[in-house]
């Protein structure tokens, strides 16, 4: 595919702020990340989960059982698509084959929104399959804003971007991560997925107060929370998603609810997958805490 022909006509056009103005996605309630280990149980029992988040790449396939299950889930539950390979902050040319496949999946799923991460996954034709960190510079911000605009134009919808757990910081950063996210959202119109665990992990790794991050994110731009577990290495924390959510992260969730109000929340478990019932207990806890703090029921904020 001729990449150049798909890019905006001029670099000035690429850099101009064109925030996509789209109504804020609805509050979905309290959900769970869909994992194949739970397919049979979910389809047989219709467990009381308000919505599911699916990993987009797991269904960017020609056919077979994964897509068949996905269709059944979509008939019964609201679904959100969450990708790991958009590589929105990569300086490599955009991958239009990937975007085309993502768009085709979104046409099939009709998700409430499409999310990915503020990160990059590779350059020079390689893919490292990791959520790699960026320097928080004006140059990087301009680049990511233009990429978000391009992707939103291509998909025909505002996307949602998540803060990732990071293990390193660059010495050329000119702003904080939360300032970067706030500006990115303001300039491009993208919404934010506030991963409570990732804020906790990055804050510990880089030695800042997670509440400072929390309070730096605009109240009206967050449409989803992720809650997950991690592995503590003593001097740093690794975002492994293979443990239950820890108490410190539950505490930060309370602070996030106080700042952002009712936000669609989900438990994200990617490894060491426990029985569904165990995760449902965590989903219930996200609901109980929110209901205890805020008036139950749908809320726009």
């Amino acid at each position: 595919m001729n990449v150049a022909s798909r890019l905006p006509n001029s670099s000035a056009a690429a850099l101009a702020d064109r925030p996509m103005e789209q109504a804020k996605p609805p509050f979905l309630g309290f959900g769970l990340g869909l994992r194949h280990q739970h397919y049979d149980e979910i389809l047989a029992g219709n467990p009381p989960i308000d919505w599911f988040e699916v990993i987009s790449e797991n269904y960017m396939l020609p056919g077979g059982q994964p897509l068949r299950v996905l269709d059944q889930i979509c008939e019964r539950y609201p679904v959100v698509m969450h990708g790991v390979s958009l590589s929105i902050a990569s300086t490599a040319p955009p991958n239009f084959d990937y975007l085309q496949a993502l768009k085709a999946l979104a046409r099939r799923v009709e998700p409430k929104w499409v999310s990915d991460h503020l990160c990059w996954t590779g350059v020079h034709g390689k893919n490292l399959h990791d959520l790699l960190p960026i320097p928080y510079t004006e140059e990087a911000l301009d680049h990511v804003v233009s990429r978000v605009q391009l992707v939103q134009d291509f998909l025909g919808r505002a996307i949602v971007l998540e803060n990732v757990s990071t293990y390193v910081q660059f010495n050329n950063s000119e702003m904080t991560e939360w300032e970067f996210l706030a500006e990115l959202s303001r300039r491009s119109g993208c919404w934010l997925l506030f991963d409570v665990n990732n804020v906790y992990v990055s804050a510990f790794n880089h030695g800042y107060d997670p509440h400072t991050f929390l309070n730096g994110i605009p109240r009206d731009r967050v449409v989803q929370f992720h809650m997950a577990g991690h592995s503590h290495m003593g001097t740093h924390i690794i975002d492994t998603h293979d443990h239950p959510v820890c108490e410190d992260v539950w505490d930060l969730y309370v602070a996030a609810l106080k700042r952002f109000g009712r936000v669609s929340t989900m438990i994200e478990r990617d490894d060491n997958i426990p029985p569904l019932a165990e995760l449902l207990v965590e989903v219930s806890r996200t609901r109980e805490i929110a209901d205890g703090l805020l008036a139950p029921g749908p809320h726009a904020g």
Binding site: G64, T91, N127, A140, Y167
Partner: protein, 261 residues
């Protein structure tokens, strides 16, 4: 090249080849040195990809054991960095890697086992397609049969292996002790496809393999029967052809049968 692009190139090189240039632009944290923190990315890269290979090649993993599989996996990761955004396709080149890279190439059963697992994986999430039924076949008038041409189901594919990899696969799948690896006198002809949602395979006799391969080339049924007559008893060729065809239809191996084209 922008500073941002250069920095990403340095960061990637630091992960892929152990180059430390990017460390000059990374800060120590309050509690840990930058080398250790950057090492999280270095370690995660190899381990994540090898884990994906373990998932895709569960039985090759069982055959080799943790240590040998991981050593092989890291060699593959180094030789064939991922170029696709979806991890699903990362280990697609594993059979060719094992066939062409010592010491694995000294054991052709490894490449065959990987090829069989890859074929089954590809059948698992391969394209959906309609399935020809016996009722559908009954709709063709007897005089039309000689002109019938067939299209394999999109998930159906053939694989020839030079070893007893299929017997080893079967033993491992049933948690049994695999037989010793053997080079066969003539290749084993396998047919792999998806039945409903389950990938399956079976071994074909030489005659059926010939008929399948020619049918997949859209050779009409009448000609296929003539070809079968050269393999064995000419008088029974049509009956044998009809028997193979019946097996394919009941197994969901065909996506179309028509007299057109």
């Amino acid at each position: 090249m922008s500073d941002f692009a250069r920095q990403q190139g340095d960061f990637q090189r630091g992960i892929l080849s152990g180059d430390d240039t990017v460390l000059a632009e990374i800060l120590d944290s309050p509690k840990e040195k930058r080398e250790t923190l950057f090492g999280v990315y270095r370690y995660a890269y190899g381990s994540r990809l090898v884990e994906a290979m373990r998932n895709d090649h569960e039985l090759l993993h069982a055959y080799l054991g943790d240590e040998m599989f991981d050593e092989m996996g890291h060699a593959y990761v180094k030789a064939r960095p991922s170029e696709h955004p979806n991890l699903r396709w990362f280990s697609q080149a594993l059979p060719e890697f094992l066939k062409s890279t010592a010491p694995y190439s000294d054991h052709p059963v490894l490449s065959d086992l990987a090829a069989l697992e890859r074929a089954l994986n590809d059948a698992f999430d391969g394209k959906d397609g309609p399935v020809v039924t016996l009722a559908g076949m009954a709709g063709f008038a007897p005089e039309a049969w000689a002109d019938l041409r067939f299209k394999p189901h999109p998930t159906a594919g053939r694989l020839d292996v030079s070893t007893n990899a299929s017997a080893i696969w079967m033993a491992l799948k049933n948690d049994g002790t695999p037989p010793d690896a053997l080079l066969l006198e003539e290749p084993s002809r396998l047919l792999i496809w998806r039945q409903d949602t389950t990938p399956v395979f079976r071994e074909l006799a030489a005659e059926e393999a010939m008929m399948w391969d020619e049918a997949a080339n859209e050779i009409p049924f009448g000609v296929l029967c003539t070809m079968l007559a050269t393999y064995d008893d000419p008088d029974g060729a049509a009956a044998r052809g009809a028997g193979y065809l019946h097996g394919w239809v009941t197994a969901g191996l065909l996506t179309d049968a028509s007299t057109g084209g």
